[in-house]
Symmetry: D2
Amino acid sequence: MTYVQPWQVRYYEADQQGVVFNAWYLAWFDEAFTAFLRDKGLSVFEMANQGINFQLVHSEIDWISGVRFGDEVSIAVQPARIGTTSFDVHYTVLREDLVTCTAKIVYVSISSDGAGKQPVAPVLRKALT
Amino acid sequence: MTYVQPWQVRYYEADQQGVVFNAWYLAWFDEAFTAFLRDKGLSVFEMANQGINFQLVHSEIDWISGVRFGDEVSIAVQPARIGTTSFDVHYTVLREDLVTCTAKIVYVSISSDGAGKQPVAPVLRKALT
Amino acid sequence: MTYVQPWQVRYYEADQQGVVFNAWYLAWFDEAFTAFLRDKGLSVFEMANQGINFQLVHSEIDWISGVRFGDEVSIAVQPARIGTTSFDVHYTVLREDLVTCTAKIVYVSISSDGAGKQPVAPVLRKALT
Amino acid sequence: MTYVQPWQVRYYEADQQGVVFNAWYLAWFDEAFTAFLRDKGLSVFEMANQGINFQLVHSEIDWISGVRFGDEVSIAVQPARIGTTSFDVHYTVLREDLVTCTAKIVYVSISSDGAGKQPVAPVLRKALT
């Protein structure tokens, strides 16, 4: 199921061309995934304290058009493939009903103690399915 | 020819896991491309005033390992495909001699006045070849 | 009247000491002021299009303690002095009921066309009183 | 003695008004202070590992005019008052020879282990004098 998060563009995220600078999209996806998990009752903060962590290993972003400060924006979060130690999440940035950007991010499940990869934790797997 | 830009990690770019947060990589590539062009005698600022502009339409990033504040980092900029109205640039983040991240960004050549796509300007084409 | 905006700390805003990096506070105050105005029915975006703009000329920030990703944070926005062409706004960052940071920002009212200072527009003056 | 650091404005730091967004100034001062210490042979990274740390407790910034992407900018770093457990540093942002911004930041010396305030370490005191 797709989760849709309404999104406020911050004034400073728009550059002098008037559209949101590209790097902020990755920052947005990070926040949108946190919101998706919160909606499922999971706290990234508490999971990290329980040893459940993840990091990005791959991202692909396609920009179709820009978004501006003042635009009505939302971000759709759609979990996709789940493997043993990694999972994909698809993101779509919408301006009203128009898709302006699509992205795919591959996360790898890691332990919080630096020991490296670990199987996707059951609570996380459940939230993603 | 690959251009290599020595790079200072800014303190605030490292997140609470101690490694540079993913979104800063896109910001870095933007700065590294500006530095590459400066090295070729081109100013992004002056080009924009002459109607020569470009924007990102696609990015792919692969993270192999993180970089930390205090690490000796450099960014290699390697122009790749050049088409009529778009071009690709490859980026490699190095910690000393170790590749920690690779990326490919596709830029489309646009006019500064908002009229849309235009052929890659000769000065830019020359710098990329 | 004080306006209080609940606030989500973004993951990347916490640095490797685990607390929000100082520069994000100014970014937060900017967003909180936008939210304050939105609450009063004013859009920064639409005001700018009508020639009503403002910029920072002075800021003072006192940090008492840090805030962390996962903390329950809110930002109180309290308009203070209003002069002919400038006004002060006080900000307080709260972690639950604890004050962690206080700030005062002096804004000057400017026209959107670059002509410089202008009297604080009536709609803005009303919102601040 | 004043230390002057040449400074490249990053493209994304300029907002849609075309001037650097206010929050980046605090980020710049952080980097400029790191550069000042590096010039004195000190690494913030190594000092932190030796238990020598500091954090901001107060900042005051006055903006006189904006700086733009493409401007020739430098940041002057001037240590001022040094007390037992805190010290002040003054910053000046210059566009060519013109002062565009002045700031004063008060830092408190803390231990890296979270134990709180500690006297300014001799190596740091020497660099600041």
